[in-house]
């Protein structure tokens, strides 16, 4: 059964927003990384994420057929219209927070894209084929850092633990299935969530064990992004992200 188009668009935009906002956050490191090597790695990965969001926004625009472009989605919506999960908009804070945020997200997206690749939606499946490889590297890159920081010096371990305490409560939203997602699962465009959750847990446990870190129990999960209820930091992020298009509408390069 093909997915209801409205609901498919909703899901495509959710995923696109996750990638755009996480990619933008990561790009904030450009020129500020703790070492030159990471100053190239992080923007590399940011470009992977922004590239994936472009493909997804273009697909959403095509499905919608209202004459919108990827730029209308990326730059010309209001904060409440973005439906990214809260995790991706959290501030970078420090390198430990940043690597952990990337890791949580990549550990979810990798099995998700694998499912989408074998799914029923040809366009999404094509996007997934490319994204799966990119995100596979993100897991490896962030994962290796987490192992070294968690099992490194007293300070690096403390920073990793602070990052887990701050960010783990936001991870539940990645695995949330709303009505739109359920419809896309039924249509076969996106995969069932239970096996992805299992893989996500396994990836996190594997790296945390090597890093001598503990997966915390979360009593009060944070959510709301999918409904457009964002954290205070999000407004500041959008101000910078949208600045060019708001100041010079229709600017091209």
């Amino acid at each position: 059964m093909p997915a209801n188009t409205e609901q498919l668009i909703e899901v495509v935009v959710q995923i696109a927003d996750d990638h755009l906002i996480l990619g933008h956050r990561l790009s904030e490191w450009c020129g500020h990384a703790p070492m030159l090597e990471e100053d190239l790695s992080m923007p590399n990965m940011a470009l992977d994420l922004v590239g994936q969001s472009r493909a997804l926004y273009s697909y959403a625009a095509q499905l919608e057929s209202k004459g919108h472009s990827e730029d209308d989605f990326a730059y010309l919506r209001k904060d409440r219209e973005y439906t990214n999960c809260l995790l991706v908009e959290r501030p970078n804070t420090d390198f430990a927070h940043t690597m952990l945020k990337q890791f949580y997200f990549a550990a979810f997206m990798h099995p998700f894209w694998q499912g989408v690749k074998n799914g029923t939606d040809n366009t999404l499946s094509g996007i997934a084929g490319k994204a799966e490889k990119e995100i596979g590297y993100h897991i490896r890159h962030a994962g290796e850092w987490i192992v070294r920081l968690g099992d490194g010096t007293d300070e690096s371990a403390e920073r990793m633990n602070d990052a887990i305490e701050a960010l783990h409560p936001y991870t539940g939203e990645l695995l949330e299935v709303d009505e739109a997602r359920q419809s896309c699962i039924v249509s076969g465009a996106i995969p069932e969530i239970a096996p992805i959750q299992t893989q996500w847990n396994a990836t996190i446990n594997n790296v945390f064990t090597q890093a001598k870190l503990t997966v915390p129990e979360i009593d009060y999960p944070q959510q709301g992004g999918r409904a457009g209820n964002h954290t205070e930091d999000f407004g500041f992020l959008l101000t910078e992200l949208q600045y060019m298009q708001r100041t010079y509408p229709g600017a091209q390069w």
Binding site: P34, M35, E37, S41, N44, H141, R148
Partner: protein, 96 residues
């Protein structure tokens, strides 16, 4: 962050295509071999420069001493017969 004991120097070699040799392309700092490999991928293969990477700890490379350059290299200068340019190569062999 580039404390040389925590982040030693690594030399990076890239093979541009199958059948060619790895070529030295530059260096980077990394804590260990795995991280050096990742950094090499991120720093030196962003523009499709190659399909294979070697990283070697710079301190493991044995280099010739510039002070010995004269005795190492000058004696080869007047021995043109070592170049394989005095043979007639049959056409059938093609490009060598």
């Amino acid at each position: 962050m580039t404390d040389s004991s925590l982040m030693p120097l690594w030399e990076v070699f890239i093979r541009p295509r199958n059948g060619l040799n790895h070529k030295h392309v530059g260096s980077l700092h990394a804590a260990d071999a795995k991280m050096a490999m990742q950094a090499a991928r991120d720093v030196y293969t962003r523009r499709e420069e190659g399909n294979s990477i070697w990283v070697v700890r710079a301190s493991d490379i044995v280099a010739s001493n510039p002070e010995n350059s004269d005795e190492n290299f000058d004696p080869a200068a007047d021995k043109v017969y070592r170049h394989p340019s005095f043979y007639d190569i049959p056409d059938e062999v093609g490009h060598m």
